[in-house]
């Protein structure tokens, strides 16, 4: 299984970060995905495609199914019908862990961090998928286990400094303020070296200044060839940085297109943006 996932990731990364060839690289795609909770269809036959090296916005009013869609893509909820694939590989039945190994990383609306561990330890957790040594190798601290650990530590330090947390590496994650926790979650998911990054309302609770920095970070992630799905309420932010935007209402897609097309769509204005 690991070998197959490795080839899959190589296929994706071989085409990166050259934007010209991104259409050829594998995309994360959902086809006619439906998810019902009892009689309610939280997501109603939605299709979308997240390509490497693009930022794809997912917007819509509260309860329109944005977060449910994100949970379906990374496997926290099983789909009721439809399918989800990475390139030609069907991952509809794959677990969260298998999809994580296949290159899908995510953040949460409310940051899920290990509060008692340091910022660096939290970011390193993202490197789990590149850990091959098991319990016994760790207990005996074999050279390979230590090397893997050191590699992941180096990668995590670099990415943490990259997202702007250089000064707090040793602090317990629980002591960080809200914005720092959001950036730490993004760092943790980037340490996983994902092909796709799903962000669940990353701008929530951030100041204008912090949102600008978030935009810069997300832009850099996109330019490195990673496909970013942005579930977000902050529409100025979405329209500014997204390459494509999908609007949901009551679980169904009402408009899909470039930021300008979506922003000027009468139905989107009626149900979500307002006049």
């Amino acid at each position: 299984m690991n070998a197959r996932e490795n080839t899959l990731r190589k296929d994706v990364s071989a085409a990166l970060p050259a934007h010209v060839s991104k259409a050829a690289a594998a995309a994360l795609s959902a086809r006619d995905v439906t998810r019902s909770f009892g009689a309610v269809k939280a997501v109603d036959s939605v299709s979308l495609q997240l390509r490497p090296g693009e930022i794809h916005g997912l917007i819509g009013p509260n309860g329109s199914g944005k977060t449910t869609m994100l949970n379906l893509l990374c496997g926290f909820y099983p789909v009721t019908s439809g399918n989800i694939a990475i390139g030609s590989r069907d991952v509809t039945a794959a677990t969260v862990q298998q999809r994580s190994a296949a290159g899908i990383a995510r953040t949460f609306q409310k940051p899920r961090l290990l509060n008692s561990l340091s910022v660096l330890d939290n970011a390193m957790l993202g490197g789990w998928n590149s850990t091959r040594s098991g319990f016994l190798a760790a207990a005996l601290a074999t050279p390979r286990a230590r090397r893997e650990n050191a590699d992941i530590r180096a990668r995590a330090e670099e990415i943490l400094c990259g997202v702007g947390l250089r000064e707090v590496l040793d602090r317990p994650a629980g002591n960080l303020d809200h914005a720092e926790q959001r950036f730490l979650e993004i760092a943790r998911s980037l340490v996983a070296q994902p092909s796709f990054l799903l962000l669940d309302e990353p701008a929530g609770g951030l100041t204008e200044h912090e949102i600008a920095q978030l935009a810069a970070v997300v832009g850099t992630v996109r330019n490195a060839g990673i496909g970013v799905l942005l579930v977000e309420h902050h529409t100025d932010f979405v329209f500014k940085i997204c390459d494509r935007v999908t609007t949901l209402n009551l679980g169904a897609t009402i408009k899909h297109g470039t930021p300008d097309e979506v922003r000027n769509d009468p139905e989107v204005i009626a149900v979500y943006l307002g006049a």
Binding site: S100, F135, G162
Partner: protein, 333 residues
């Protein structure tokens, strides 16, 4: 995940010297025996700490695995004349196997039900050790051989058990400081985050729980040898709670804390006679005080002496060039 001991190498060396030389400065042989007993308990508790303190698995029935190790050693080395070291290794193997078999069905259960399953297991082992009197001597018990020379004197057997305890400590410290340890804390503190980064719940828990079975088996074997005679009464459910309480009092996610907890809870009632009279009441009071006053455990008291970073307002300042290089490195891999 920096264990306190690593930040104080001098203190670590001093404590090691004090520990190893204990037979020379201990006032009497009983104190050496007591130290040996603590080390035997720690062999089990050190391994259990990875399951309880790091992974958050509420295993309160480890006394069952402890008893299995003890009886395995007594039966193999005593009844069947197997060499004690081979019997010791076999006790560890059997303990690990039983830990695995107990973990297979129960580790899929949510926390509270898992605790109940391990409790039931502890009780079942107690009843079985009574019922299989052909093997275990039933209620009358069974005598346990001592280790052969040179490990037949209080001082040398102390060093033997201390070495086992040291091996367990180093192994758990290795696990705790490497990637595997982070995955354990993730399973304890946020299963959602653990899943999102790809940590398989069941397999990871099984590995840790089997390891705690091995250490319980080895700990039970040396404990039995120290006792020279064991009966089902030796392995009452209270002993399982005692192991658990040592870890809770010591604090979760720490090695030094539970070690201090084990030393304090074993030594105090023995050293201070009035405390011994209190029996279980003493453990109850200590647990209550720690849970109410220092819920992070007595190990956390040491953090007070550590320099705290100044809590200044920090502004997130992304270094995009660096981020870009780091990400492209990943893509090239």
């Amino acid at each position: 995940m920096k264990p306190i001991s690593s930040s104080r190498p001098v203190l670590l060396v001093l404590s090691l010297v004090a520990l190893v030389s204990l037979p020379f400065w201990a006032p009497d042989e009983y104190k050496i025996h007591l130290a040996t007993l603590i080390a035997a308990y720690w062999v089990l508790i050190g391994g259990l700490n990875l399951a309880v303190g790091y992974t958050g698995l509420l295993s309160i029935g480890h006394v069952g695995l402890f008893a299995i190790g003890a009886y395995a050693f007594a039966i193999l080395a005593g009844t069947h004349d197997v060499h004690p070291y081979v019997a010791l290794a076999a006790a560890g193997g059997i303990g690990g196997l039983c830990g695995l078999l107990l973990g297979l069905p129960s580790l899929r259960l949510p926390g509270f039900y898992f605790a109940m399953a391990t409790m039931a297991f502890g009780m079942i082992v107690g009843e079985l050790s009574l019922a299989f009197d052909g093997l275990t001597g039933g209620g009358a018990g069974i005598s346990v051989p001592a280790f052969p020379a040179p490990f037949d004197k209080p001082a040398t057997v102390f060093w033997l058990v201390l070495s086992l305890a040291a091996i367990v400590t180093v192994m758990t410290w290795n696990v705790a400081r490497l990637m595997f340890g982070r995955s354990l804390v993730a399973l304890r503190d946020s299963e959602v985050a653990a899943a999102a980064v790809g940590i398989p719940f069941y397999r990871t828990k099984l590995a840790v729980y089997s390891f705690s079975g091995v250490t319980a088996g080895v700990g039970g074997a040396v404990f039995a040898s120290l006792q020279t005679y064991i009966t089902p009464e030796t392995f009452v459910f209270d002993l399982g709670m005692f192991f658990f309480i040592c870890i809770i009092i010591g604090g979760r996610g720490s090695i030094l804390g539970p070690l201090l907890g084990t030393i304090a809870l074993t030594a105090l009632p023995e050293v201070a006679a009035p405390l011994a009279k209190l029996g279980q009441f003493f453990y109850g009071i200590v647990l209550l005080l720690v849970v109410l006053l220092v819920p992070e455990g007595i190990g956390s008291v040491f953090h007070l002496f550590r320099k705290q970073p100044a809590k200044t307002k920090h502004v997130v300042k992304p270094e995009l060039e660096l981020l870009s290089t780091a990400l492209r490195k990943g893509a090239a891999r």
